[in-house]
Structure formats: structure tokens, C-alpha cells
Amino acid sequence: MPLMLPTIVRNLFGGPATRLYPFQVRDSFARARGHVEFDDNKCTLCGNCARRCPAAAIEINKEKKELTFFPARCIICEVCAEACRRDAITVEVKWRSPFYTKPVEVHQPKGKEKAS
């Protein structure tokens, strides 16, 4: 009847499976979707990313020449990075750390529209 016995004895002597997280961090997988980063030097404010973002996490203000990113809305779908033709958005493998107040990233891109 005690069919579970071998398993729990193995657990007891095999040591816990726990990864002691804050003290012991595993490397992320190579292509994990952690969070997105914007490169102000490459972005030309074309607005492709904002149009395609399913969560409306990016707003573009052409007059003020500003790109505003709301990390608390981003669902890390990687769509913006695929949409951007200037490679101005990269997806990093590390997840975004929690915060006390919702951050708002305001970017003032300096990228030039190339002639190509």
C-alpha cells in the first residue's frame, strides 16, 4: 500500500531539488524573453513598434520627438523587436525586477532616417 514510500525516501536522502534562488541564480536560456531595451542611437521614431504592440506599451510623440515606454504594460512578446527595422529594440534574457512605483521610460531618440 505505501506506494509513495520509495519516492519520499529518495527525496529525503537525495537532497532537496530547491534552487536557493536569490543566493543561487541559474543562467537564463539563450533566447529567453526577459525584457526589452531601447537603443536611442538607432531609433528613428518611425512608430512601427508602437503600432504593432499588442499591449500599447509604447507611445510615440512625433512633435516632442519622444518615445515613451511603459514597462508595467509590456508583455514581452518580442513583437516590437521584430517590427523595428533599425534594430533599436533588443530583447534581454534577464527578467525585469519588481518595483515600488510603476516606471515610465522616456526616450529621446537620436537615430537618423537613413537614405537606404
Binding site: 534562488y21 536569490p22 527578467w95 519588481p98
Partner: protein, 145 residues
């Protein structure tokens, strides 16, 4: 009161409330209890009873019906309490921003102490969030003393 303050930081009992999330963050919050992450290391126990809880972990965006339940639940938790919003949609509504029955993030209904972004928020991120919440609690107590 020293020992009570230390104990508060060492024994955060949580209650998990699922607003109208997609379950993604719920299962990640549950995964925190399982062998690989085992948050019981920090004394965290999932109580399932607001009267015993210290930390309210909320997943999912608030809709019109859960808003009332959430307020109720929050009132039932004895002080001192912390609120952690887990997942992008608990933070802001996220991908559901244009759904008609969604009010938005959890902070529209109850005060939130820590936001954990991510869709779904990874168990590691949730642990980070709890650590951050406990730091805030420790600081608040330092001031109060």
C-alpha cells in the same frame, strides 16, 4: 517589540487572489511553492484564508465583478498587510487594456506595495517581489519605532 518585528519579516503568510487573470501568473505563483523554488524557505505559507494572511498576492486585471470581492478581501486581512501585484496585467491591465469588462490594474481598487512585471511573471521575479515587499515592511517598521 523587537521579536515581533523580526518575526513579521520572517513569516509572511500569503493569500493569493485571482482577479480575472489568464492563469499564467497563477500557476507561476503556485510554482513558487513547489520543490524547485520552495518559498517556504522564507517562511511563506499559502494560507487561503484572509484572516490568517499578511501578504495579498494578486494576479490578473481587475474587472467589474472582482473589484468588489477584492475590496472585501483586503478589508478582511488584519494589519499590517502588504499587497503584491503579480504580472503585467495586475500592474496595469497589460494586454487586456482594451477589453470592455476590465477596469485596469489592481491599484485602481486597493493600494499596491510592490509591482512584479512580466507576462507571465517568473517565479524568480515573484520571489524578488516578495523580498522587496519585506524590505519595505522592515523600513516602515524602522520608522515607526
Amino acid at each position: 517589540m523587537g521579536i515581533i518585528h523580526t518575526s513579521r519579516i520572517k513569516s509572511p503568510w500569503i493569500i493569493h487572489f485571482d482577479n480575472s487573470s489568464c492563469n499564467g501568473c497563477d500557476i507561476e505563483a503556485l510554482a513558487c511553492l513547489t520543490p524547485l523554488y520552495d518559498v517556504e524557505r522564507f517562511g511563506i505559507v499559502n494560507m487561503g484564508n484572509p484572516k490568517h494572511a499578511d501578504v495579498l498576492v494578486i494576479t490578473g486585471p481587475v474587472n467589474y465583478r472582482t473589484a468588489r470581492v477584492l475590496k472585501n478581501l483586503y478589508a478582511q486581512i488584519p494589519d499590517p498587510k502588504m499587497v503584491i501585484a503579480v504580472g503585467t496585467c495586475a500592474c496595469s491591465g497589460g494586454v487586456f487594456h482594451n477589453c470592455y469588462n476590465i477596469l485596469g490594474g489592481v491599484d485602481k481598487v486597493v493600494p499596491v506595495d510592490v509591482y512584479v512585471p512580466g507576462c507571465a511573471a517568473r517565479p524568480e521575479a515573484i520571489i524578488d517581489g516578495v523580498v522587496l515587499a519585506l524590505q519595505k515592511l522592515a523600513q516602515a517598521q524602522g520608522v515607526a519605532k
